[in-house]
Symmetry: C2
């Protein structure tokens, strides 16, 4: 057995930092969404880049699969070891290596989570803006090209990763990018690695762009009578160029779930949750301009979250909405859609999705980062109910195909993993073959997170 | 002869849109900088993507080099056909295909220049922000990952290209990206192609992000006593998060050249040229905050360019500065450096460069997009004077190596072309090998702009 030979060699190398315990294999073989478990044969806990390189070299020698693992918050089964092999858990590589205030950058190891990073940054007056909600690891966020509530203002991981250290499939260690804020020096390997989901290499170090803490922050919620009105308010706001820091949509069902889960008291109608960043004067100006737009579309008066603790509570409620929605149906699991469409198609895409859901035998609250054109339907199913699961998968497929037909993408931020593989050919056409060529040249043995992103032979 | 066989086939295909005329070959074999001419064997003028695909297929069949050509404004010899072959001139593919106001995007063919694009966009109230100064083609700007005066606010071509149509080395036509503003759907082929300098494929269509015309624009110049003071004013401004639309540095020698060439009357000292975009209130606030910083560093009162025609004149003078500096030495050609360093190293990098220039037997005005950490020294040499040329090349090498030592890049925006090839190994280490692997898998015959970007066997 190739995998057993790799495990033998790695045990000698890592001692008790290679775990074969059932509980470890089980914990790393689960996912947060509806996928069946797939267990690795062993879990490695390297302490530094050199060890990662040696582990990968050993795995390459034995043709043994290697799956990277951060915080395990993927909703698309990225970390499931569908072909077994070694899962590399980066929990022992989760340090801030250097904060560079003058350049507004930070160098981190991949295992650090975004909440810990921002705690570590607090004294510097800087923060890392990308906010997927889940307390994901930065390595995982880069690997899936994550984004979230603040992408409308600060961009996605694509925009906020300056440089990477990567262990390639043959164990070579490369550095991509530099400390310069822009460069024309050859192929953009940083951008190629961001979003490659561990299939081209493993991220062992990241240099990230930071933002200065805004002088003023204001957050508010605003209730609307219809989904359409809320969405039109958003597209108008974006078209006016108002630099919203966050502009999040929740439909009535999402709001009801938040009320129940977070003991809140929002009117059960579609809502926007917004945040403004800037100087005092510019926040006031943005709030006034957005307020006028919201009013034009029948929005309620703002309910302000002015104090920091109120803001924290508001965004915690938002970040917990996935769990809130899951809790709204006992024993449910979720199939999560993640389409992103051109802003001009957003209202139509959401309306058609809602109509589609209304006809389905399952409930599926809708919410999303609508300023980017990105929204999620959380399709709730009882795992044992094959009728529900079939209906949900069909619905998910229609939502994905509709996004492609609208010129959008099947995944705005969650990545391909296992769940979006069926749509790669339709979304990318022959471009998907090119991805396969790149994979093949950088990982000829197909050991890096095999079965993900590219077409399988 | 392989190339002759390709020419024969292409003549049948294109008729008089394949030119063998001496003047055409000569025009396409020159560059705007110090490189010796290198002529193609023929110049093709395709009218659509399908023709480009057929041309490339024919060239692949005959192992004939293919070089893309836009406006010919590269300063690094990108379009020089160092191995002969076919130059594909995109002048017949320079249309705006669609302006999408709601999505704030435009779809264009690669041959359109940025000035023409912005003229065509004027009625829409939108503009394309990337401004390299030269009236470059959009295909060329994407191919070199260009940026320029506005990158500090609006980013580079990396940030402003949403989607591409590409003709690959075997003639396959792929589409990268989508109409969505973000995506996690697999490898970022758009980012891989942007900056690949025609070595992986030819760009035949681009979807670009647009910006709304700001409500208010104000531009100004500000004189400083020393280079250091001007640069420190810039780094402080960036650290404060003031969203400058432009913040350009010119040293005294550059200012003198501008005065002579553009009949201007600036005091001959280091200058910053700045522009603010936003609402009336935010422009006023930005100007006040920047004004305070400038004053702290001994800057003069602003000289405002308030009317649109005054602003146009100001930025025309800035855009013509390369020609102004060239004109300052009779019969001179230029070796242009293009380093970009971390902002924290900018003052030191410029100071050391200035000291280095002061010791050299040539003059070399310094200017740059200092808000990004990017600056140019324009090394003036008499082509026939080998002593000057040697001194300039040595100086250029020291400037490039200093940038790498500072954690920066040898090219912030001009690209590799021929001029920066010697630094790729030092800047990228084994990452350069990875670029070579990608090149080899996508262009196994090495016909696409051979001799550029990747290591040559």
């Amino acid at each position: 057995m190739f995998i057993n030979a790799a495990i033998e060699a790695l045990t000698t190398m890592l001692g008790d930092r290679l775990s074969l315990s059932k509980s470890d294999l089980s914990a790393h073989g689960q996912s947060e969404a509806h996928f069946d478990p797939s267990f690795p044969d062993a879990v490695a806990y390297p302490c530094n880049t050199d060890e990662v390189s040696k582990i990968v070299k050993t795995c390459a020698q034995h043709h043994c699969p290697v799956v990277g693992y951060g915080a395990g918050t993927s909703l698309e089964g990225h970390t499931l070891a569908t072909r077994g092999g070694i899962t590399i858990d980066f929990r022992n590589m989760s340090q801030v290596l250097a904060i560079n205030r003058a350049d507004m950058t930070v160098c981190v190891q991949p295992g650090i989570t975004r909440e810990t990073l921002n705690e570590d940054l607090r004294a510097s007056g800087l923060f890392f803006p990308v906010d997927p909600g889940a307390n994901a690891s930065l390595g995982g966020m880069a690997a899936t090209r994550a984004s979230g509530t603040t992408a409308v203002r600060y961009g996605t991981m694509r925009d906020n990763v300056m440089a990477l250290e990567i262990v390639l499939a043959d164990g070579r260690i490369i550095r991509t990018g530099s400390g310069a804020r822009k460069s024309s020096a050859g192929y953009d390997l940083t951008a190629l690695m961001v979003g490659s989901e561990g299939t081209l290499g493993l991220i062992t170090e990241l240099t990230l762009k930071l933002q200065g803490q805004p002088e003023a922050i204001a957050a508010a919620t605003c209730a609307f009578v219809t989904i359409d009105a809320a969405v039109e308010a958003v597209t108008t706001t974006i078209a006016m160029g108002i630099p919203m820091a966050r502009i999040e949509f929740l439909d009535a069902a999402s709001v009801a779930a938040v009320n129940a889960y977070s003991k809140a008291n929002f009117p059960v109608t579609p809502h926007l949750m917004v945040e403004f960043h800037g100087s005092d004067a510019s926040v006031a100006e943005q709030a006034e301009r957005f307020g006028n737009i919201a009013q034009d579309f029948g929005g309620s008066a703002f309910s302000w979250a002015t104090k920091p603790e109120e803001r924290t509570r508001l965004w915690q409620m938002r970040h917990h909405v996935y769990w809130a929605i899951l809790s709204s149906k006992k024993g449910a699991t979720a199939i999560v859609t993640d389409v992103c469409v051109p802003i001009s198609k957003l209202a139509q895409a959401i309306a058609e999705t809602q109509a589609d859901i209304d006809l389905a035998p399952i409930s599926a609250p809708i919410l999303g980062h609508v300023g980017d054109g990105n929204f999620h339907a959380i399709l709730l199913v009882t795992p044992e109910n094959s009728h529900e699961k079939r209906a949900a998968l069909d619905l998910s497929e229609r939502i994905a195909n509709r996004a492609i037909a609208f010129g959008g993408t099947v995944t705005g931020e969650h990545g391909i993993g296992l769940g979006k593989m069926p749509y790669m050919a339709a979304e990318h056409g022959m471009g998907w073959d090119v991805m396969g060529q790149i994979k093949k040249t950088l990982d000829p043995l197909n050991i890096m997170n095999p079965g993900k992103v590219v077409r399988q032979n």
